[in-house]
């Protein structure tokens, strides 16, 4: 294993993040605050409680998931797309590094950034609502797994994308709607029966539900199912990345 290479890729990616640290920090704080103002104060004042939890607190796991999934996907996709775009990918391809090492470096950095954003949002949430975390270790595990799996997805998107439009296509058209429709701001039980069934085909439901369980001890679907879903998703992404590097698809000529 070329640990020096992993370290080099990881810190090179993190350096880009630190160059824009203020934007990285301020942006989620402002957007989270806005969500709390709109959903927590304006709409939340008309919704008393959801499953025995105040609405302001109820939306915290969904808000964190929304940002973490988007950030992980965007950071990882941009991380690998940028060297392709400016041509510096040649260095990666001619270096003594395996696909696993490249993936660990890029995905590790993207997941770290997303994790950082997740904690910033969590910290901001404490300023707006009373919040307690029922299962802190499970919360951390869910958060880390989500950061990793969506960074893997972003990595695939970055390799697939051939222009900046494609790079933004999946996060904008697929991930954001799935997160919004995945119970970020409501409980699945609040939906009509037909939509409850349809919603079960949305993989994000399982992640948000599991994450919410870690906070409040209640969930829309069982925690085992949630863990199974995120493990399956991670495994699927890893399999796709392994195939990409094996065949050189969109990387090597």
């Amino acid at each position: 294993m070329n640990f020096q290479a992993i370290k080099a890729i990881y810190f090179n990616e993190m350096a880009r993040f630190f160059r824009t640290l203020m934007q990285s920090f301020i942006s989620p704080v402002i957007s989270t605050s806005l969500y709390f103002v709109v959903f927590g104060a304006a709409i939340g004042s008309r919704i008393d409680e959801v499953e025995g939890i105040s609405y302001g607190s109820f939306i915290v796991p969904g808000l964190i998931m929304l940002s973490v999934m988007t950030q992980a996907t965007t950071n990882a996709s941009f991380g690998i797309y940028f060297p392709k775009f400016i041509g510096t990918i040649y260095e990666m391809l001619s270096a003594p590094v395996s696909f696993l090492e490249i993936t660990i470096g890029y995905v590790g950095a993207a997941a770290t950034k997303a994790l950082f954003i997740g904690f910033v949002i969590l910290g901001t949430a404490f300023a707006f609502v009373d919040l307690s975390i029922a299962h802190p270790f499970a919360m951390l595990a869910f958060l880390v797994l989500t950061c990793l799996s969506f960074s893997l997805l972003g990595f695939i998107i970055g390799i697939w994308a051939q222009n900046f439009e494609q790079l933004q296509l999946i996060p904008l058209l697929i991930i954001t709607p799935l997160v919004f429709l995945g119970g970020s701001f409501y409980s699945i039980s609040m939906l009509p029966p037909v939509w409850q069934i349809i919603t079960m085909f949305n993989p994000v439901v399982y992640l948000i539900s599991g994450f919410r369980w870690a906070f409040f001890g209640t969930s829309d679907v069982s925690i085992v199912l949630s863990l199974g879903a995120i493990t399956l998703f991670t495994g699927l992404c890893l399999a796709v990345i392994w195939w990409i590097f094996r065949t050189g698809w969109r990387i090597r000529q």
Binding site: I9, I86, G87, L93, A95
Partner: protein
């Protein structure tokens, strides 16, 4: 076996285009080899394949005895690549981008070596500058620094002086010469014949995916070179006298001289006979000059033959 050994290398793309057709090549340690060829000849594909950027369709390549597919780590550890295009992260500092390259090749931090390298390439003063603020020539030096950051034994330079001014080109030649002295094997592709003539030990000519020849530069020029004898006359001519035209002499521009082309390595060059004919024709000699064919002439002839 040379430090780089290429055997029957073929590269075909999905569209059906075959960029390399059974290329075989042995590169000895410590030499500078220049690959000459027109656009689309397969020079960059050859380098890209050896370095791992492009996958070969068939054939084998070893670097330092390591197969580039089955023992790619061993092979790539020995190789540094300077690409044709200036591909650098614009917002990164020079020192950081060079450190990144070293790390990517599995080497630990060694600031003393990097300082020596950057000083050698006249980049030390720019070490904290962002890449985007550098001139084109400086960026090329950064690419070389990155390629050398992990102390490779073989350096590939893909058209290192394409589009750079004469002064910088000569600087590059100096750098290449210093690297050779340090024991680095250098393989460069170039469009500039004078570049190959100035710095290479061996010349390879590639066209349409095939190596047309690969030979010691001096031997190549001696073997294939033709010499021109220019006979300057005291009085200009409007046409070549018939007796001299029969001997293959042509009129030099302006009519002040005659040109005789001969094989420099032939047992009998025919110069004595020509001079006697000139004398017989009643022409007065002002001066005599001989000139050897340049590598460019040889290259053009070879490429023409395969066109």
């Amino acid at each position: 076996m040379g430090i780089v050994s290429v055997q029957n290398l073929t590269k075909s793309y999905d569209g059906g285009f075959t960029a390399l057709k059974g290329v075989s090549l042995e590169i000895e340690e410590g030499e500078i080899i220049a690959l000459l060829g027109p656009n689309g000849a397969g020079k960059t594909t050859l380098i890209s394949t050896i370095c791992g950027i492009t996958r070969p369709t068939s054939g084998t390549v070893t670097v330092g005895g390591y197969d580039i597919i089955t023992a790619y780590r061993g092979a790539r550890n020995l190789v540094g690549l300077v690409p044709q295009e200036i591909s650098l992260e614009p917002f990164e500092k020079v020192i950081n981008t060079v450190r990144f390259s070293r790390g990517l090749f599995g080497k630990g931090k060694d600031d003393a070596y990097l300082e020596k390298l950057l000083r050698q390439l006249s980049l030390w003063d720019k070490k904290d500058s962002k890449v985007m603020t550098l001139s084109g020539g400086m960026k090329r030096r950064v690419l070389i620094a990155k390629a050398l950051s992990h102390e490779p034994r073989v350096l590939f330079l893909d058209e290192p002086t394409a589009g750079v001014d004469v002064e910088l080109r000569k600087d590059m030649w100096q750098i290449v010469s210093e690297l050779k002295q340090a024991g680095v094997t250098i393989i460069l592709t170039t469009h500039y014949i004078e570049e190959a003539e100035a710095i290479a030990d061996r010349i390879g000519v590639i066209n349409k995916g095939e190596i047309l020849l690969i030979e010691d530069k001096d031997a190549l020029m001696a073997r294939m070179g033709q010499k021109h004898l220019r006979i300057d006359l005291t009085e200009p001519l409007t046409e070549v006298p018939k007796s001299l035209a029969k001997q293959g002499l042509t009129l030099a521009t302006g009519g002040h001289g005659l040109i005789y082309t001969f094989d420099a390595n032939a047992e009998r060059t025919g110069i004595a006979r020509i001079l006697a004919e000139v004398h017989k024709a009643g022409l007065q000699l002002a001066d005599l000059q001989t000139q050897q064919s340049s590598l460019e002439d040889i290259f053009v002839d070879l490429v023409k033959e395969t066109a």
